[in-house]
């Protein structure tokens, strides 16, 4: 099979090829390594490529497949992970000079589970430094959007999305504390899922703000994301906060179609002054398509969602700052200017103000739960805009500019569901006139990731956005 053919096959399709012995894992991995070698210098998607280790792993997978013993539908399928997830014997930088020499002695649980399922680790993916805001001069290269390399990938799971969009890998893992899986998924035109907090073990995910942190899968299709989530979800003795709720059959849910599903469009996000009208139009068109696929669409109101950034900034960011306080004291010069300034500011937020915010967090959770009593899934744009140009941000000249441009930033539409811990997914729903992807965000009741996957898969069955690929 030609390399370009392999590059954009889904994980489901690659798994079928492998089980029918129409391609070997070694062939697939070799083709993708060649593509990474060719494209990564421009795109900056990978920090570390596993090369020979990936080929060795693929050969082991081929031997198991030859014995007719696939461990999962992903056996022999390559994957790559954000460089915030531990990988045994492979450097894990967290996108920062602070961890340039950190080599974990074990895998993160999510990584270990993908490997145990027969997945082949291709490498470690680029990210914004410490997963905390923009990075002016990324220490391991600037991640660039495959749809337009002058544009941002979004972050912080930058390479996790761009590697998929560029056909460098079929499945990736990311981490999401305020939108870090969904935003790059939206900007790069792929599917990204932030699970319910507790659904996927955080063991080995380098912590940012633990009450908000989630590891989750990305893929080019909802079906692929379903397969990956199936493998990584579930109780982990190494993470006491992981849930022991049963893991449903996500791939089956993703085949059920949208008929009879109730989708509630979040009025406050659709009416936001910050929402680009071109993004709004594409989201409305996507909702129309879901209606034609059998879903009932209505509008719901979550008034407190407009305070979500305040809740997020007051509760998550000081925790991040506390975690990195020793770095700020001892190695501030080794942190890029943008995360350093964000950490410094977050270090000075008074605890008394943070404590006053907690009731508001509970109230927002209650409102989202309330909305989800009348519908199955909530819908909204993933981000207010498509990918923006990579540019040095201008010096701040006002507090309002600081709030929108540097503090609350692009996570305004995603951080509410980190605050409330609901599962949320971004699925591509079209392109702007400039050829930039736009994402539709779907939110479900806690531990009902299957419902976001069901709607996303039904939408992808009715559209072909996910079959369009950048010209690279």
């Amino acid at each position: 099979m030609a390399a370009a053919g392999i590059a954009f096959l889904t994980a489901v399709e690659l798994g079928d090829l492998l089980r029918r012995r129409q391609a070997s894992s070694e062939e697939i991995v070799t083709e993708l390594l060649g593509r990474i070698d060719r494209l990564n210098p421009e795109l900056g998607a990978f920090i570390t490529v596993c090369g020979q280790a990936a080929i060795d792993s693929a050969r082991r997978a081929d031997r198991a497949l030859a014995r007719g013993k696939p461990r999962s539908p992903l056996h022999g399928v390559p994957f790559a992970v954000k460089d915030a997830l531990w990988t045994e014997g492979v450097r894990t930088t967290n996108g920062s000079r602070l961890f340039a020499d950190f080599v974990p002695r074990e895998d993160a649980t999510a990584v270990a589970r993908l490997r145990a399922a027969g997945g082949v680790l291709l490498g470690k993916l680029n990210m914004t430094e410490l997963a905390f805001g923009g990075t002016l001069a990324p220490p391991f290269g600037m991640p660039r959007n495959p749809w337009d390399p002058s544009r941002t990938t979004g972050g912080s799971s930058s390479g996790s999305a761009s590697a998929l969009a560029a056909g460098l890998c079929p499945i990736t893992l990311g981490g999401d504390t305020g939108g870090s899986i969904r935003l790059p998924a939206s900007f790069c035109g792929v599917v990204g899922l932030k699970p319910t907090w507790g659904r996927v073990s955080r063991h080995g995910l380098m912590p940012l703000a633990e009450p908000f942190d989630c590891a989750g899968p990305l893929g080019r299709t909802a079906q692929d994301v379903a397969l990956a989530l199936q493998v990584i979800a579930g109780r982990d003795a190494k993470d006491a906060t992981s849930s022991d709720r049963p893991v449903p059959d996500y791939a089956r849910a993703a085949r059920r179609g949208a008929q009879g599903m109730r989708v509630g469009v979040i009025r406050e996000l659709m009416e936001s002054d910050l929402l680009d009208s071109r993004v709004a139009r594409l989201v409305v068109e996507a909702l129309d398509m879901l209606k034609r696929s059998g879903a009932a669409i209505e509008e719901v109101s979550i008034p407190l969602i407009r305070f979500s950034s305040e809740i997020y900034v007051a509760t998550a960011e000081p925790e991040v700052a506390a975690r990195h306080r020793p770095d700020l004291v001892q190695r501030a010069g080794d942190i890029d200017v943008l995360p350093r300034r964000r950490l410094l500011s977050a270090s000075l937020v008074p605890a008394a103000l943070r404590a006053r915010i907690l009731p508001l967090r509970e109230a927002l959770q209650g409102q989202v739960d309330g909305a989800l009593r009348s519908v199955d899934v909530l819908a909204a744009p993933t981000a207010p805009t498509a990918a923006t140009p990579i540019a040095e941000p201008p010096s701040l000249t006002s507090k309002e500019e600081a709030w929108l441009g540097a503090v609350a930033g692009r996570s305004l539409f995603t951080n509410p569901f980190n605050v409330t811990a609901h599962p949320a997914l971004s699925v591509p729903c079209g392109f702007t006139a400039e050829g930039l992807p736009v994402g539709l965000q779907l939110v479900a009741r806690p531990f009902r990731e299957d419902e976001t996957l069901r709607i996303a898969a039904a939408y992808q069955a009715a559209t072909d956005w996910h079959r369009r690929h950048p010209d690279l």
Partner: protein, 109 residues
């Protein structure tokens, strides 16, 4: 909240053992000022009525509790937005308390 000045921020940082370089000071001052303004503005909300008593036990493993009412100020703001008309032209259901509503957001009164 009053205007925060760079010298205040520098002194505050020093008090907690952090040094802010001159190149970072203006930026950090604007960021912190914006954050404090936003959080201070929430004092206008009756937060104890919004979410029940602070420190109340969590409902389950993801820390959620049943739907609660929006604060009065927020209900007023929601009503104002409702009057502006919807962006989507879709049927509406109020969700402030989880109860269906035909004409916009509705919370427990």
């Amino acid at each position: 909240m009053g205007d925060l000045r760079p010298e205040h921020v520098k002194a505050l940082a020093l008090a907690v053992g952090l040094t802010i370089a001159d190149d970072d000071l203006t930026d950090v001052t604007f960021r912190l000022g914006a954050t404090l303004d936003r959080l201070g503005a929430l004092d206008a909300l009756d937060l104890l009525r919004v979410g029940g008593a602070a420190g109340a036990g969590r409902g389950d493993e993801v820390g959620r509790r049943p739907g609660r009412a929006a604060p009065r100020a927020d209900r007023r703001a929601a009503a104002a937005r409702r009057d502006r008309g919807a962006a989507t032209g879709l049927p509406r259901r109020g969700a402030a308390s989880g109860a269906p509503a035909r004409s916009g957001p509705r919370g427990k009164r």
